[in-house]
Amino acid sequence: MSTRLTRAGRLIDPTRPLEFRFNGKRLRGFAGDTLASALLANDQMLVGRSFKYHRPRGIVASGAEEPNALVNMGAEGRFEPNQRATTTELFDGLSATSQNHWPSLEYDIGAINTHLARFLPAGFYYKMFIHPRPFWKHVYEPFIRQSAGLGRAPKARDADRYEHFYAHVDLLIIGGGVAGLQAALTAGRAGRRVLVIEQTPHWGGRAPVDGGEIDGQPTEAWIGDALAALSEMANVTLRNRTMGAGIYDHGYALGYERVSDHAPDGGDAPRHRLWRIRARHILSATGAIERPLSFAGNDLPGVMLAAAMRDYLVDYGVSPGDRTVVVTNNDDAYRTAIALKEAGLEVPVIADARDHATGPLAERARGMGIRVETGMGIAAVKGGKRVTGVALCAQAGEGAAREYVACDAVAMSGGWSPVVHFWSHCGGKLTWDRAGAMFRPDADHPPTGQDGLPMVTAAGAANGAMMLDACMADAVAQARLATIAAGGKARKTAPPEVECAAEQAIEPVWIMPQGAPIEARSKMWLDFQNDVKVSDVQLAAREGYESVEHTKRYTTLGMATDQGKLSNINGLAVLSDALNAEIPATGTTTFRPPYTPISLASLGGEAHGELFQPIRKTPIHDWGDANGADWEPVGLWRRAYAYPRDGETVEQAVAREVTNTRENLGLLDASTLGKIIVQGPDAGRFLDMLYTNMMSTLKPGRCRYGLMCSENGFLIDDGVVARIDDQTFLCHTTTGGAERIHGHMEEWLQTEWWDWKVYTANVTEQFAQIAVVGPNARKLLEKLGGMDVSPEALPFMAWADGQIGGFDIRAYRISFSGELSYEIAVPASQGRAFWDALMTAGQEFGVMAYGTEALHIMRAEKGFIMIGDETDGTVIPQDLGLDWAISRKKDDYLGKRAQVRSFMANPERWKLVGLETLDGSVLPDGIYAVGQGRNANGQANVIGRVTSTYHSPTLNKGIAMGLIQRGPERMGEVVEFARTDGGRIPARIVSPVFLDPEGERQNV
């Protein structure tokens, strides 16, 4: 069994017991525990079920590389699946449940899959679910959806707070082990601004567990001194619980700080903090990860990485088993055997795959009375939900069992892989180190930054310098280079004096035994989380998968949440062997950020709810709020769709607003309309290029409706242009188009016609604009008194400055409704007061506010187009019957050349018409018109579509606008529209101007 030893672990505070729950069971741990160490202390080795076969799984590792111990944490607004028990710090009241099993962890129906394993090989999904086609929708997909995914997505709203934090540093050091701390000392002393981030709560990495001495003192004491020295430096920042998440272009890096995961009731603190870091240079001191060995049954609970077992023993005072067999191809695992023996636990045998073991560590183990068997491997691990023993065999053979050894734990070590992720994120290349049997950073091909120089330096174990003496020497040398790259000066210094045991070379052993038969290889796990076995990778190779990237996707090797931290190199080695290729020739898969999964909420930071994006409000917005406005978003603006009154539906309100505006008087808050001033000696010439019409001939005091096209010829915006004086124009744009069109103007001015003398300014928010619309519009303005608003003084399409009701205003005689209409601009600060004055004085004339839907209906009744309804980026003005607004006199305007391309001039183009159903009903929006015959795919030929459709309260029937093939030539014809349910709606093609085609209502 696994249990807590009487000798306290290095990181444990035995005076602070904590209570927690696992699957509802009340358990005890101590301050300093991880959830994993606390579970092991309570003999809870079984922690989950594997993804595909639902195999019972135990804790394998002690850190971020853990593939099995994924749990659901918390409840409701703090529920989160797939949390690694090995990186979850224990706190009082923690509640976790295991995943991927039903009905319970101990008895799981899905485990039947393990007996079907023969029928679920690599590529199973691709092979199986193709035929028969109808089965996909009704059988396979529901089944896969039911079983897909580890854990369950949370349903409640996240109860926590998250934030972003920006940091600019000379040197970012990722990893706070001895190499990282040494580098921080070097760069810090050189006066560089240094940020050191460490993913665990503890500094010094695994050096205190592995032993050795630095500068004549135990590593733990050296780490303490280094931290003390660094904390004295104002230019050095140390952050633990902060993982390097990824490195991006030009020295950009993300850090992921778990601020209060370990103390969830810590008050106001955010849960996670995303560090957005810009560094002149980055040093990766991220250490190395131990590899498993592939032998039959290596996934049974109780089989662990040898170094992880040592961590549990030394750091947490937890023994994963009473009798542990150690299996290895290198010297490091001997440290585990020695530590176990020193703790009074049994180590019946060390099975070493190498043909001899004569290093100091092996000699020391033998000296302690531990039996060492060389040339030996594991033929099979015995047990169900827990290891009960191993069968040993010769590594060189085919697995004939030599001996059965009873045990309750197996410590395995297949060697170490440097954590090269941060070297690789931005394109650093790797080199295969044959002696060390590992990929390590290739210093000749580093990731480069903005200046083309190396952007990342790797140091210590992350650079392949595994043993403490080599690690510290490398840290000193690389720290100097990194300091210089970060803009500092650093002299060459001697590395610190290091004492550590010498190690005999690793023997690259990937599967055990060498000649294992298929039955054994089908039980050797490479990827524990995704259930990928040695036999799967070999099958992929036989089926022709030569690229490691393809094999990964075919077998799902390394595609789980751990991203193959344990499995990638082993899988690669097995693939290379199956392909008869060298490991470096097969290559690695791509390392992508984030290093381990980070919370989506941390990426969002504070940008949610009201802070998600700014909301733009007009000066009249508050009146709308007080008068029942039904708001709709238009870009970042909020505009009133309608102003329903007591008991009214929105539809009823819209109809009332239309009717009242047509019969009496309506006010529209048009402040959101874009207003751009274009000024300068070349302003007219410039606008002639921007608009399809001639603007330079417009007289001061007059307005003209204009169209703007892109260089592709497509209509992008429209609006009324007013000439203010000889050199000044005011261009109205659509509400959504103001910033875009202003940008469009600036782009052409800055990058094409930079010698033209023109300035532009977007003054949209400087003015409130109110449309006073309806037969009583002039009466209202005359009652308020001031400037002459008679048809003689201010005719249709004219504008004038003046005063009304004591307000300084500019009145435009323009109409988007077809009614007598004045659009009146006042300084934004006067907008609300002017609106109130109009409302009060307008009572006797039946004034009512109207919203955007009434605006839309009234413009549609008049056949006026709306950018975004009648246009979609493929429509040219000629399609909309707007040829009258295209100047024939101009040599050039944006879009002119494009509009004579053959396709643009094709008479078959869909063109604007009005549409009326035969029964007066309203056509569905966007519905397609179908013509005769079928196309090559057997579908009905489509000949047009509806672009705007409304119930007209004025005409009391449905009206619509649409684009129909040769539409204007087909007036009076009835065409059919296809409903999604298969039905057809006949509608007659009519003029798009449904009301007052002569314009008698507006021109009074």
Binding site: Y252, R278, T448, Q450, G452, G743, E746, D892, R897, R901
Partner: protein, 109 residues
Amino acid sequence: MLVLTCPYCGVAAEETELHAGGEAHLKRFGPGASDEDFTGYLFGRENPKGVHFERWLHANGCGKWFHAARCTATLELFGTYSAQLTEPPEPIRKAISAKRPGWRWREFS
């Protein structure tokens, strides 16, 4: 996340401050242009692995367009310069030649 220095305001701007504007030094063809010239102007673009010239807008900054010369393969930046030029200026071309001898881009080298 590139960092480009805006030649107008001098700010070393993060990519979040900038807006990419596609290829630099396009020559506009208008009415009267042949179909071939006009198509090339609208749609024909270089797609180099290596030296490239681009337009960028300092959108959340001074609002000015500028040009940048950079390597599309390594993201190395050779320099930024005024958008009001029809071809890359000599100092930029020299800087590129120092790092990518023999480079060619359209008619420039």
